[in-house]
Amino acid sequence: MIQMINPIEKLNKTFDSRVRLGIMSTLMVNDKINFNDLKELIAVTDGNLASHIKSLEESGYIKVNKGFVGRKTNTTYAVTKAGEKAFQQHLGALEKMIKAMK
């Protein structure tokens, strides 16, 4: 444990939450997803999800697209290029950490 380089610094602090991790994982494999589907998948409250979405949006990792289905508003979310890259780096760091500790 002592002599290994610290890979933790490469771990992205933004993804240091179950909800944000869930949002990113979901968006990585779906072109876009709406608020309600996301809420059901991650099993969180509206407010909680909204605040995590906000922080991911501020980091530039996801983009919000407001549209309409008929007359109802439909907000969908998608991952940005930067978000994709950051998430992949995070995955890489996790992988390295596991390998380093074998």
Binding site: R18, G22, S25, V29, D37, E95
Partner: protein, 219 residues
């Protein structure tokens, strides 16, 4: 060690979220088994009727005097009932499973899955209806097997991936059946009955039995 476990757990969560959000994973192995049993029952009734009509060696005495058209309609009715029963029972077990896993049954992934199953099936349905109109009854079993197999292979991207192998099995049986037209009962039983049941048992053993054990240890 703790950090390692944490990273592993995080990766597992990521994997789970990716699967849950992009695939319909509530499909139960029991659905496969029940659909297979329905197919076997349907095949038994249909072959009894047809055998009876051909050779008159059965208890349904009045059948011998039946017209061709009547026998055809009855067999078609058996087919439809079999299909409805298979659909209803497999829906039932999948419904139970989605309750257990807590994943809603109707979501984006379900619609995507149903749409991708429907494309080859609807195309197949037109093909088979037209075959019947042209009196090409021999093509029905191989046609059902091939189009159903294609639907399963197409569906495998949107649900548990193993269903692809069930699809391959149906397609291969359907193609072989094209050269053994007279033995349609055997191919029907092997494809819709036996393959479904084997698939169902394997899937149940692989996913549902394990999750049951996990639940027990969690309690």
């Amino acid at each position: 060690m703790n950090a390692k476990q944490q990273s592993l757990q995080e990766l597992q969560q990521i994997k789970q979220m990716m699967e849950r959000s992009s695939k319909f994973i509530s499909l139960s192995g029991l659905s496969g088994i029940s659909a297979g049993i329905c197919a076997l029952a349907g095949a038994w009734f249909a072959s009894q009727k047809i055998h009876c009509w051909q050779y008159g060696d059965c208890q349904f005495g009045d059948l011998i005097n039946d017209t061709d058209r009547k026998v055809q309609n009855e067999v078609l009715l058996i087919a439809i009932l079999t299909f409805v029963a298979a659909l209803a029972t497999s829906f039932f077990f999948t419904f139970l499973r989605s309750k257990k896993t807590g994943i809603p049954l109707f979501g984006t992934t379900t619609i995507r899955l149903l749409w991708n199953i429907a494309i080859p099936l609807v195309a197949g349905a037109f093909f088979l209806i037209r075959s019947m109109q042209l009196d090409q009854y021999e093509l029905i079993t191989p046609g059902c097997l091939i189009f159903y197999g294609l639907a399963l292979v197409n569906a495998s991207k949107y649900t548990l991936g193993e269903i692809r192998f069930l699809g391959y099995g149906q397609i291969i049986l359907g193609i072989i059946n094209l050269w053994f037209i007279g033995n349609w009962v055997i191919f029907w039983v092997a494809g819709f009955g036996v393959l479904h049941i084997i698939y169902g048992i394997v899937m149940w053993y692989k996913y549902e039995r394990v999750s049951r054990i996990n639940n027990d240890t969690n309690d």
